[in-house]
């Protein structure tokens, strides 16, 4: 069990990505790091922004973890949203591509490129569901 959004959680997510044939095929030509900014929601036990980072290259995840804002901002794509939005994505309640177009997930970087890889994005979301996850606002105080 890994708590979202911690470094162990992102490492577990990276492991799941590398075990996915579907992702390897769908993202075979994808090149570029993605930083995920999980914005603070103190009332949900998320006191500070967290920068998750995945180095994705040709269908594989070369590394994953939590990084500092400066390293995260250097990623080719940065996707920001409040913690609750990310939780909705992980629970399958918010389609990430639709969320980007609706502004619920805010993208820095070339949005059309991400949208073209919708199959890979969907597989990434499915894979989050394979990571045994606990959420900070659901853990007893």
């Amino acid at each position: 069990m890994a708590r979202f959004p911690t470094d162990p959680w992102f490492k577990e997510f990276a492991r799941a990505i590398n075990e996915s044939d579907e992702y390897r095929e769908a993202a075979a030509t994808w090149e570029g790091e993605i930083a995920f900014v999980i914005e603070a929601e103190p009332d949900k036990r998320m006191p500070e922004d967290v920068w998750g980072f995945l180095d994705l290259w040709h269908g594989a995840c070369r590394s994953g973890g939590v990084v500092g804002p400066e390293d995260g901002a250097a990623a080719r794509y940065v996707i920001r949203a409040p913690y609750s939005r990310w939780k909705d994505v992980l629970l399958g309640d918010l389609d990430p591509v639709k969320g980007m177009m609706q502004g619920k997930l805010r993208v820095q970087g070339d949005l059309p490129t991400i949208v073209r890889y919708v199959r890979a994005a969907n597989e990434l979301v499915r894979l989050t569901g394979t990571v045994e996850t606990e959420f900070p606002d659901e853990v007893p105080a």
Binding site: A40, D43, M100, Q102, G103, R106, V107
Partner: protein, 344 residues
Amino acid sequence: MRAVVVDEGRVRLADVPEPVIEDPGDAVVRITRASICGSDLHYLHGKTPVDPGGVMGHEAVGVVELVGESVRKVAPGDRVVLAFDIACGACWFCRRGESALCEDVRMLGGGPFLGSLPGTQAERARVPVADVNLLRIPAAVDDEHALFVGDALTTGYYAATTAALAPGDTIAVVGAGPVGYFCAQAARAMGAAVFAIDPDPARRAIAERSGVATVDPSGRHPEMALAEATEGRGADVAVDAVGSPSAFETAVGLVRRGGLVVIVGLYAAETTELQLGVFWARAITLRFTGLCPVHAWWERAMSEVEAGRIDPLPVISHRLSLEDAPRGYELFDRREAMKVVLAP
């Protein structure tokens, strides 16, 4: 006469020449109350050029003492509020009620970019085109209630009006400073559900006492607060009442698909990155207000004050003499004051 002047990044009290009638349309007003506005800090810090030794200020009320021979609408003895932006009243824009876009727009205390007119933090001020730029104050409205009608109050009222709110609409106001407060008050009077977002507890407290819901962004994500209040949609209207890229981005994040973002906060050289496709897909309308055309709106704003639907007094944090103006600027600059009123 005594006046607050600016020199090399600091303000001081000085003796300056008494204003006189220079044009048949002029009036000379004895100032009874003047205030320090956020944009005065731009002059103080050199973000906007100043005339060395120029008189500061553009928010004031007073009593007419002298009028030029062509002035018809005001007379000596009238209590008046002064427009912060001085319009000609005759050009194409002024005739359309867009007086802030006047071909000859000037500003009291506005420095060389805006006509080099002496400002209002003084015992007296000359007001050009007095028939256009002075508004008589109703007998039932005292000076402090009328003071902000020439600028911040009407600017906030204008922002709310620009939002074209229907009863039951939800509006999020980013920034609960004076303009945000007045916008929130006006929106509430229009029947909207109002949320003011500000990290400053004192400003939130003032908004809350006037019946506005508030969000402390350091304790709760504003986007989620508005989503929860609107069945996940977001606000119908979001107002940037700050004038910073982060406030703009916050406002954009708060508004629902098909919603309106009103940008009333003052911008100069700031830049930000926009995902045009997202704005297009979300069908968001951006409306930059520019300076408020107070002349077209101040009678309506004054009516709101007279009817008690907008109460300006809660924003006054300090009442000082003209001699204490430098201290007032210090307090204001340190954000320890919401609004400083000076009594010449």
